[in-house]
Subunit: 361 residues, 2 copies
């Protein structure tokens, strides 16, 4: 069995959406065992209602939950018996292969760093997710774990993004791009230029496609887009917001005229296909990559279908052995011999406040 | 007469689009005199073809032009007799009230800084433009002039964005937001937090609306969005790219089924209205704000209609006396007495390479 620890109390509509998520997943993945961390009284009737077979789950009663608006530092200090914390500890202790939570992003990031620690050699864990682009899905990181990044960190993000694209999207040789304000060599600040200098050396095993701009990213000119957490967070949310804005304007346009309404009814089946293709729920599930254990964040406002997708991401990451792939990739690269020695030792301490953001909530 | 210096040789389709732009503008603005800086041999037949009355223009023959891909530092050094440089110098010398160019952004920024210098008290000029959001237009800066910004610079951008929104969009008390990864007080890096600390003091005369995220920006939750040039550039291009992506997907969706095609034909008039509303050409024209003179950048790939809009932006900025408004706004604010003394003296020297980007091209 493949045990997945679910923070059943995390998310705006928890625990209902967590149990529903498990219902959507269990038939296609009968080898997965769900460990529900949360309030037993609330969970039992939900699990019965969703008809999850008894041999596929355990309930681990937790007296406490992390509030969605709690400060990460407070959650770490006071949330030792919370569903979130105990689900993460199950991964550390080998009782679960991964954890999934729709709870407070900053708290989940801080607790995961503290409990799981970084992978050997990793300077800073990052938040990575899949987003839609024209004709393909792309991988974007960091989405908000590290608001300011050195070039060493950006370079490691490239390696981690490469491993993630291979594992989750099944790509064989993903093309990596660095997000920048222009495509020419002299563009960008020092960190991005130094990262590019390393990544384009022939000794670097990655398939580096150079700089990409905001529009290149959504056009899908590369498979993996690497940037600092401040820019990545804002780019992702701007893309999501623009999509929402255009959908709203189109809706109002259609409602503004009788002919347009009739026209839309005729076009409805085609638009239903489109809607499925860019449904945000099928992109739900961001990984805290670079940690010594798999922690997946679901959108806080997710419904059951969205949460199910986050569980599927976790299952894929476990089955694809993502963390060993990252370690292997990094082993093959001697940064010092390539003239890019790290500025400092890997940082394993938990980092609060300024570098932990509610990035993908 | 209000003389506007046009860099007739700048842009992918120059000089044709520059002369066309003047044609679209001259009837509604018969008090504007166009100073075409460029190759007289090419300009004369174009001006005749576009029937621009003789008393509304001058041609200033320039032997040289700045290439679209020239490095800014090279353009500054070698482009002393270029159409771009001489158009900017006309503003400095009081022969023109503003200049408009669709040429190389980095070169235009570097030359404008060198020739026009900063306004008194301004640390760093920025690139500012209007972009569409739901139900309103918003102002965004910096779009790429300063890739990394101190909080002093971000605060001044807020003042300059305020003056720009009042002048160009006719707003009386624009709400200012700082782009960030979350809306809570503890979110963000130090620069953004320090800027917020200043802007929310009761002594600060601006209408500060706090932090905004990527999706808030496109939803139009504030009128002016302030950020560093790296993030602003990527946010703008991501929004533009996402819009383009969605239009393309919709087009393919419509073409995928016969009923959808019929439906779209019925909805066509409504969509034509929508298309006009979000036509990128009606948002063309970014200002280099904070300079001692008005320089407006048109998109490099602009057509005549787009260039005309950039000329209109320049006319509005002159007529609204934008620069005196900025000076007045800043005069009313004693940063030192509010506990936010600038880290260094205003920088007036031209800055090349790393801080000059092809931001809006």
């Amino acid at each position: 069995m493949l045990p997945i620890a679910l923070d059943a109390m995390g998310g705006d509509k928890a625990p209902a959406i967590v149990v529903e998520g498990a219902r959507y997943v269990h038939k296609a993945h009968p080898h997965v065992r769900f460990l529900f961390f949360g309030d037993e009284q609330q969970l039992l009737p939900l699990i019965e209602k969703n008809k999850i077979p008894k041999h596929l789950y355990d309930i681990i009663h937790t007296p406490d939950r992390v509030a969605m608006n709690e400060k990460p530092s407070v959650a770490v200090r006071k949330g030792r018996t919370s569903s979130m914390r105990l689900a993460i500890e199950a991964v550390r202790d080998g009782k679960a292969s991964a954890t999934v939570s729709a709870g407070n992003t900053g708290a989940l990031m801080a607790m995961s760093k503290l409990v799981l620690k970084s992978l050997p050699g990793i300077y800073r864990p990052a938040i990575v997710a899949v987003m839609p682009a024209i004709r393909r899905k792309i991988v974007l990181l960091d989405l908000g774990a590290n608001l300011q990044c050195s070039h060493h960190e950006l370079i490691q993000f490239a390696y981690m993004g490469d491993a993630f694209a291979k594992a989750v999207l099944g790509m064989s040789n993903p093309k990596i791009g660095l997000l920048n304000v222009g495509s020419e060599e002299e563009k960008g600040h020092d960190e991005v230029k130094l990262a590019a200098k390393f990544l384009k050396q022939p000794e670097c095993p990655l398939n580096f496609g150079g700089y990409v701009e905001g529009h290149d990213m959504v056009e899908g000119s590369v498979d993996v887009v690497v940037t600092d957490g401040f820019t990545g967070n804002i780019a992702l949310k701007t893309a999501e917001g623009t999509g929402k804005m255009i959908r709203q304007i189109i809706k109002e346009t259609i409602e503004s005229s009788f002919l347009a309404k009739i026209g839309f009814l005729l076009a409805q089946p085609a638009f239903a296909t489109l809607k499925r293709k860019i449904d945000p729920r099928s992109y739900n599930g961001a990984m805290f990559i670079g940690l010594n254990g798999i922690a997946v964040k679901s959108h806080g406002g997710s419904d059951g279908k969205g949460f199910a997708n986050a569980i599927r991401v976790a299952i894929t990451l476990v089955e694809q052995d993502i963390n060993n792939k990252i370690i292997e990739e990094l082993k093959g690269t001697d940064m010092t011999s390539l003239g890019i020695a790290p500025a400092s030792q890997p940082r394993n301490e938990p980092v609060f406040l300024s570098d932990v953001s509610e990035s993908i909530n």
